[in-house]
């Protein structure tokens, strides 16, 4: 799988969302994977779990620290990336591709509109605020 970073929406906590029909694919940004450093474990939510926007739903662990991953939109978990159990380094190698984390079926497809566009996210990264 590959999504264009430019086509994704971004949360301030560095998750990206790519709307794919009725599903929202979620991963972490290239900036985030670089900050996190080598990912060694990923704990993902189980399909069927109802999640609320902003809720901690996954954990990405690197050699240095553990990072909570927040649901960028509300809805129901549809799928989790099973490949990460055997190869968590995919998050570093292909954050917008095979390193995706999970898919959500959004309860309100418009909710993603409130997230940042790619250019806004880039500006956000450059600002001292993050």
């Amino acid at each position: 799988m590959n999504v264009k970073p430019e086509a994704c929406r971004y949360a301030q906590s560095h998750e990206w969302v790519s709307l794919d029909g009725a599903s929202a694919v979620v991963g972490i940004s290239d900036h985030a994977q670089k900050e996190i450093t080598d990912v060694v474990f990923v704990d993902l939510p189980k399909p069927g779990r109802k999640v609320t926007k902003g809720e901690a739903v996954a954990v990405v662990e690197s050699v240095k620290a553990a990072f909570d991953i927040y649901a960028p939109v509300s809805g129901e978990i549809e799928a989790a990336n099973a490949a990460l159990a055997g190869n968590p380094a995919l998050v570093n190698q292909a954050p917008h591709g095979d390193g995706w984390l999970f898919k959500i079926k959004p309860s309100d497809p418009k909710e993603a509109d409130a997230l940042m566009s790619f250019s806004d996210y880039e500006k956000f990264l450059k600002s001292a605020a993050h």
């Binding site: 670089k34 450093t37 080598d38 060694v40 474990f41 704990d43 954990v59 662990e61 690197s62 050699v63 240095k64 620290a65 553990a66 380094a89 570093n92």
Partner: protein, 367 residues
């Protein structure tokens, strides 16, 4: 020296920046956390070779007719056992037997010694050493300014360094000698902080960049990688080596830390001896043990270590072991906890199954 808010930089800082290293603050020093990736760097050291900028470490020469007398008084290991050309690991203790610092002491000549101190302790160490040296016929040369140090570590360390210092392979483990490099005096020791064969080269500032770049070139065909603090920490923790300030400190003794061999009681008197003799007789009430996760997850320093839900201690160091592919750590635990005992470790808000184990986690295969 005054405490400044601006981070200190080593003479190799410009090279690290140019190489794209991720830099972090470490006890007031801006040092590389990683160059190409912690795990990749870690594996390069286990399989081939890695170089580390350890110029933040404190260096001092202690020389003179009473140097040995001073060192005998302030260190737990017996400096008199060092022949010229030898180095050893030793602890500087307070009166309670607590560890003020853990250092490498080299004897270069009968009355000439060289000590490498932890960066964050160097200031206090030198004051402590100075206070015990008062009135003694010796001199202490503070080499924290104008000098640096590069560690060359891994099974290919000797053949890499031999390109610059031919014959370095003759040096015994924990051997120490002065060499000439690029027209300057350097101190070469066969020591390290990774659990692999390796060397540390203490050199004056003007030749450090050349040393670093030539090592990179010499080791490139062996798979040498420049390494940062991230790999340094995972490597030393796998090897069961202590990090002062985390695993051992002025509140813990070498006996509690599981390093009885750095304590030479003998006939000599030294600071902390009485406390250690007492502790040896009475037994320790806690000891540093390894903790290995039995399930997924990465333990972190400060995480609780429990047995049947009861808190026994907290992790002093903890990380993911790239070699064992599992979470590892160290904790002070009651002496009745034996290696093999079932434990739980607090990992990111849950209790993960773990096991107590003897240190080290990793021992290199004899060559």
């Amino acid at each position: 020296m005054s405490v400044s808010s601006a981070p200190r930089r080593t003479p190799l800082h410009a090279l690290h920046s140019k190489a794209g290293a991720k830099l972090v603050d470490f006890h007031g020093w801006e040092l590389p956390l990683q160059f190409s990736g912690i795990i990749k760097e870690h594996q390069a050291v286990r399989a081939a070779c890695g170089i580390f900028d350890v110029s933040h470490m404190g260096q001092a020469a202690i020389e003179g007719p009473q140097a040995l007398e001073l060192l005998g008084r302030i260190f737990s290991n017996d400096a008199a056992r060092l022949a010229p050309g030898q180095a050893h690991y030793t602890h500087m203790l307070n009166e309670k037997g607590g560890v003020i610092d853990d250092v490498i002491l080299s004897r270069l000549a009968p009355e000439r010694f060289f000590v490498v101190l932890n960066a964050s302790n160097a200031e206090g160490d030198l004051a402590w050493i100075g206070s015990h040296a008062r009135g003694m016929n010796l001199r202490i040369v503070d080499r924290r300014e104008g000098f640096g140090m590069v560690a060359v570590q891994g099974p290919a360390a000797a053949k890499t360094l031999a390109c610059l210092l031919p014959g370095c392979g003759d040096l015994a483990r924990f051997g120490a000698r002065e060499e000439r490099l690029y027209g300057h005096d350097v101190l070469l020791t066969r020591t390290g902080y990774t659990g692999e064969d390796g060397f540390e080269v203490a050199a004056p500032e003007p030749i450090l960049s050349r040393l670093w770049e030539n090592l990179e070139a010499a080791g490139a065909s062996y798979g040498l990688l420049p390494c940062g603090l991230g790999a340094r920490d995972t490597l030393r923790l796998e090897a069961g080596l202590l990090l002062h300030g985390s695993d051992v400190d002025p509140e813990h003794t070498p006996l509690e830390a599981g390093y009885p061999w750095v304590v030479r009681l003998g006939a000599r008197d030294f600071v902390g001896k009485a406390a250690l003799e007492r502790q040896k007789k009475e037994g320790v009430s806690r000891r540093l043990l390894g903790v290995k996760l039995a399930e997924r997850g990465v333990p972190r320093p400060g995480g609780g270590v429990r047995a049947g839900g009861r808190l026994l201690g907290t992790l002093t160091s903890a990380t993911f072991s790239p070699t064992l592919q599992t979470g590892i750590g160290m904790a002070y635990l009651p002496p009745d906890v034996e290696p093999g005992a079932a434990l739980e470790v607090d990992v990111h808000g849950r209790a993960a199954a773990a096991q107590a184990c003897a240190l080290p986690f990793y021992r290199r295969k004899p060559t």
